[in-house]
Amino acid sequence: MNHDLFGFEINVWADAAARLGLIVSLMTVVVMGLIYGERKVIARFQQRLGPTRTGPAGLLQSVADALKLVAKEDVRPKSADPWVFELAPYFVFVPIFLMFVAVPFAFHWEIRVLELGIFYVLAVSSVNIVGWVMAGWGSDNRYAMLGALRAAAQAISYELPLVMSLIAVGMVADSFNLTDIVRGQGQVPNIVWQPLPFFIFFVAMLAELNRTPFDIPVGESEVVGGPFVEYSGIRWSMFFLAEYAALFILALLGAAIFLGGWAWPLGEEWGLPWQLALTAIKAGAIIFAIFWVRVTLPRLRIDQLMAFSWKVLLPISFVQVLANGLVLVYEPPQHIADILLAAISGAGLVLVVMIMNRSVGKPRPRPVLTNRAAAATPPARSEAAR
């Protein structure tokens, strides 16, 4: 059995190995680029320059960091559970790489076309929380455990709105195949018909990636790095690699599902470089937005975080799925269906914004100090002694 890889007919296993190698090398390069990019972008957000010393314009900074991390000692605490501790990075790392299988970069540029692409990506992406909890448990460290449990709670809470928002889009696109979804957006990207799911997707993505303002699992000031406290060297860098790889993949997913991937606005006739550039620009815009949110917003409290997921995002995403179903089940003419979907989703977005406005906009009245409180205070110690 032979397979087609860039026009070459090769053995299935060799093909699989080649594709795997491609993913791994692409991932490493992209992650190093992302780390460099993040440092540069965030530096600009703070009127700094970012890395400038290592290589031209600091371009080799990530390479130097990677080398340093590889060369560092890989410490395992004596009381840690050896198997759980050492295997945890792989459980975080492998699912993220598995997500890559279905993500389309350009026309016919994906590892495999999967009929249930969205489903597969979501199913695989939720596995890595096992790795986080393993890291927290295996480290035998209270901070790590706390961080891991926070990560688990947060990831599970935000998994649901993420899934529901993508299901809503899948209903509109009439397919779960990522390539089909992208090709269906040749004229208008899905974000126009489904702005609410895009918003939910973006917020849930931030939470899934444990990025500010949803970074309580790894918040330095609270749990000193969460599940990663005890990790060092290559294992720690694997967590980091997985984090940035997930960022890249989710941005690509968002670009493909909501922003039209390589199809919009140039269409499929344009060549491969244009398609790749389009995908890169769209994913880059999403990544930039993530960095932007990161430098702007402070960390949420865990109760606010949970409340936002369970009380706002999840119900509203269910309503979105229901509404989409109601519109689509009667099979109205295409343009009417489109307008209805856009109107409902837009109204939903306005509703979410209003809810957020209600919860953040108005400061709560401060408790007023009364004289009763003053009267209740015990007399000063010196008087009591007398």
Binding site: V41, A43, R44, F45, Q46, Q47, R48, L49, T52, W292, V293, V295, T296, L297, V353, M356, N357, V360, G361
Partner: protein, 156 residues
């Protein structure tokens, strides 16, 4: 919500601004007018010799005793057939920049305005690998003013 959007706008406007960072070893900020680094000796261009007569005033006044001064008869004095009006002149002069605390007292006590505080960036960038290299001798102390690198001082 409006606060969220507003804050996003603020950060974006900062993003559009130019970074304020200066790449220090490559670019130097202009120094303040009355900046002072380490003391150096001044060069009398008219007579082509140092102003310093080696009178030991600065050495005696120095609170950290970082100076060592040796005086000699000026070979270029009129009595010797030269043009100089200085009967005595500096023979050897060492300042240990590692001990100097840049108090400016030597400049104030100098009767001949022969010593001044370096007001250039070179005067600040004195890092060496060995403390002994911080001890400056006469040619080193004279070189900068002789080359005309020092800016004119502004009176307080």
């Amino acid at each position: 919500m409006r606060g969220l959007l507003k804050s996003m706008g603020v950060t974006l406007s900062v993003f559009a601004r130019k970074p304020v960072t200066r790449q220090y070893p490559e670019t130097h900020r202009p120094l303040p007018e009355r900046d002072r680094a380490f003391p150096l000796l001044l060069w009398d261009e008219n007579l082509d010799e140092p102003f310093c007569t080696g009178c030991h005033a600065c050495e005696r006044a120095c609170p950290v005793e970082c100076m060592t001064v040796l005086m000699k008869d000026n070979p270029a004095h009129r009595s010797q057939g030269g043009t100089s009006t200085r009967r005595k002149i500096i023979d050897k002069f060492w300042i240990d920049y590692g001990r100097c605390m840049r108090c400016n007292i030597c400049v104030e006590v100098c009767n001949f305005d022969a010593i001044g505080m370096n007001n250039t960036w070179q005067g600040h960038e004195q890092s060496v690998y060995d403390r002994a290299d911080l001890i400056q001798d006469l040619p080193q102390l004279l070189a900068e003013h002789k080359a005309g690198d020092v800016k004119p001082w502004i009176a307080p």
